[in-house]
Subunit: 396 residues, 2 copies
């Protein structure tokens, strides 16, 4: 009895579910400490202490009718939106006001809101492989057509020529994810400038508006001195989707925001429509206690040093074992080249060593696997000898 | 540049926005205490103290990585789902397990999840006027066709004959809202039995499955000894959408659940698909701290006596002024007959007395207006002389 559109999605989801259950099964047999589950992007460092303190102080000190009530606007509390705008202005020399901000149910909620706002059935949305597989579903929710740009498996920066060729009069949006899930690569300023130039030129050529949707849940998770360009400064028709899931380790609380700058074409209409979309998609407003909590913690972030230590240990260990992968500059993923063409076979064989990874096909990039290193450091250290054994099977 | 489908919705939403701004404008001129804003269903009694205590204790005592993390299943924490199921079993002599429960982003989130799960484009969804206007948008989100049953303006119970006539082979679902927004009427056990019998008979006639979706955010808000029938006991293909928004005064926190009983046809498939829908619509999971908090407060509810006092005062006051309306048995709305055919004219004239109400057209029932009495008791008392003056204008 379920909707036709859901059937394929359920089958696909069962595969993820099966992997999760496999992890539980293995943990039951070998003990949880001997299972190396790199499949999930669920942060394993706690939210900063200030987040808990903010929540408790709000609960103790503010009026519960306001704290837990519907917000006057579906976009969220005016003071929270203002605080977010001012924090962005301070950090990125932008000129937003609270009116440019819509608080959302995480970045996933925000992306659905902006796609509902923009897409007519048949509109094309371009993504650069490898890309977060959920974009397929989000675009499909509104009967958009996903157009993939094939991966540059050397640099994992977008392939500009193919991008130029695949933009059509029907292209309504381009989604980028920076830093990138699943590669951990950060699109450089040079990449962004070229991307913007291509889009400007195509807008002129087709007489259309093409929105650049930047999905940024990993913005704060960068290592060393890497800079993540702030895209509204490079291209007017930019919409940013942000989440506090990773920066404050609050993924389950579903709190993030959209930035819709005044420079975007028809900005006022888009803001009104996004407000309505937030309501009618059933979000209504972002969870209110969490809105107030994050507004007090805009300069906080989770302990990046923890992820960095994992990154170094896993990256070096994998290289030592003979695998090859690009060194991530951000996020908490490693995208490893499978030592055989069929990366699903590789994932299957890794399971014999209690290693769980996600096939690159899920990200539009077969031949690779994703490892999420948001696990305990001990898990990484204990997994390394297993990776060595696995590598030997492939003669690495 | 916004999507065609959004354009009408934005226009409609602007009307609500305009009303809200009118309230602010009037408050600016006359003082907030002299504006009688009955337009919003935003509870004005605080969450029970135990809810705050539960949140603080969870924050202080539980592991933040778990409290704020993604839940293993998109349906929510297993222990929370089990607690909800057991609480329902205790109260309604049902036999649910945690597997029958999906925690959702309020009832609005839950309704979108179940409609995404069930509807193919063109599928018909029946609603009984007057009905919560958002159903239009929710059904439209998945390209369903809303079919209205005209109101019985004497009893506001569903018109059974028209219902029977309007069920077709394309009818996929029927939505009821009990207690009802905007009338406050509770559909009686007799109504429910007749409704179920009609649906059983039509399922046989067409060889189809027709799901009864029961939207129950007001379940706990009933006055006196009124019983709200628990619909899974009357009809197998029932799905319940619940919200803690009103029962625990937590509307902004976006926490509720779906009940999908084993008796429903293809129950296992529907549960899997609803899980996936929860994820891909961008909810991902219901906010996690709130899941844990409500699980500790399943036997609590907001102070109904407060609403009851408002109900009596406003109902009696309106009758005394010469208006007529059905006495609500639940929720916090009064649905008043407009003294003129064009209820929008009536709403407009009420504004001259600083009284804000919502036209019945928004609920598919012109000629009536909705008053939300979830306001302070003083607002009600102060509004009564104004209603008397307003009534006089119409010669009541």
């Amino acid at each position: 009895m379920i909707a036709e559109k859901m059937k394929g999605m359920v089958a696909n989801s069962s595969a993820i579910r099966a992997m999760f259950e496999e992890g539980n099964r293995l943990a039951g047999i070998y003990g949880a400490e001997n299972v190396y589950d790199f499949s999930l992007g669920n942060p394993n460092i706690p939210a900063p202490k200030s987040v808990k303190e903010a929540m408790i102080s709000i609960l103790n000190e503010e009026d519960p009718i306001t704290v837990h009530g519907y917000t006057n606007s579906n976009a969220g509390y005016a003071d929270v939106r203002k605080a977010v705008a001012e924090n962005l202005n301070k950090r990125f020399q932008t000129n937003f006001t609270g009116n440019n901000i819509i608080m959302t149910v995480g970045a996933a909620g925000g992306l659905n809101v902006i796609l509902k706002t923009l897409l007519n059935p048949g509109d094309e949305v371009i993504v650069f492989a490898p890309y977060f597989g959920e974009y397929r579903s989000y675009v499909s929710n509104f009967d958009g057509v996903l157009v993939e740009i094939s991966p540059d498996t050397e640099t994992f920066q977008p392939k500009m020529e193919e991008f130029e060729q695949k933009i059509t009069a029907k292209t309504k949006a381009v989604i980028v994810n920076n830093p990138n899930n699943p590669t951990g690569v950060v699109y450089s300023e040079e990449t962004i400038k070229r991307l913007a130039a291509v889009m400007e030129q195509k807008q002129k050529e087709f007489g259309t508006d093409i929105y650049l949707i930047s999905d940024e849940p990993y913005r704060e998770l960068v290592y060393g001195n890497v800079e993540v360009p702030f895209l509204t400064k490079y291209y007017d028709n930019t919409v940013i989707g942000y989440s506090f899931s990773k920066s404050l380790s609050l993924p389950g609380e579903r709190i993030g925001y959209l930035v819709i700058p005044d420079e975007a074409k028809d900005s006022a209409d888009i803001l009104s429509a996004a407000n309505v979309a937030n309501r009618i998609l059933g979000f209504v407003n972002a969870p209110t206690l969490q809105q107030k909590a994050v507004a007090r913690c805009l300069d906080e972030k989770a302990d990046i040093a923890f992820y960095d230590r994992n990154r170094e240990a896993l990256y070096n260990g994998l290289l030592e074992a003979g695998f090859s992968c690009i060194k991530p500059q951000g996020a908490f993923y490693l995208f490893v080249k499978a030592p055989t063409e069929d990366e699903k076979e590789f994932c299957g064989r890794a399971k014999n060593y209690n290693i769980l990874m996600v096939p690159g096909s899920s990200f539009g990039c077969p031949g690779f696997v994703r490892l999420a290193y948001c696990v305990s450091h001990e898990t990484i250290l204990r997994s390394l000898p297993k990776f060595k054994e696995l590598a030997k099977e492939y003669g690495l």
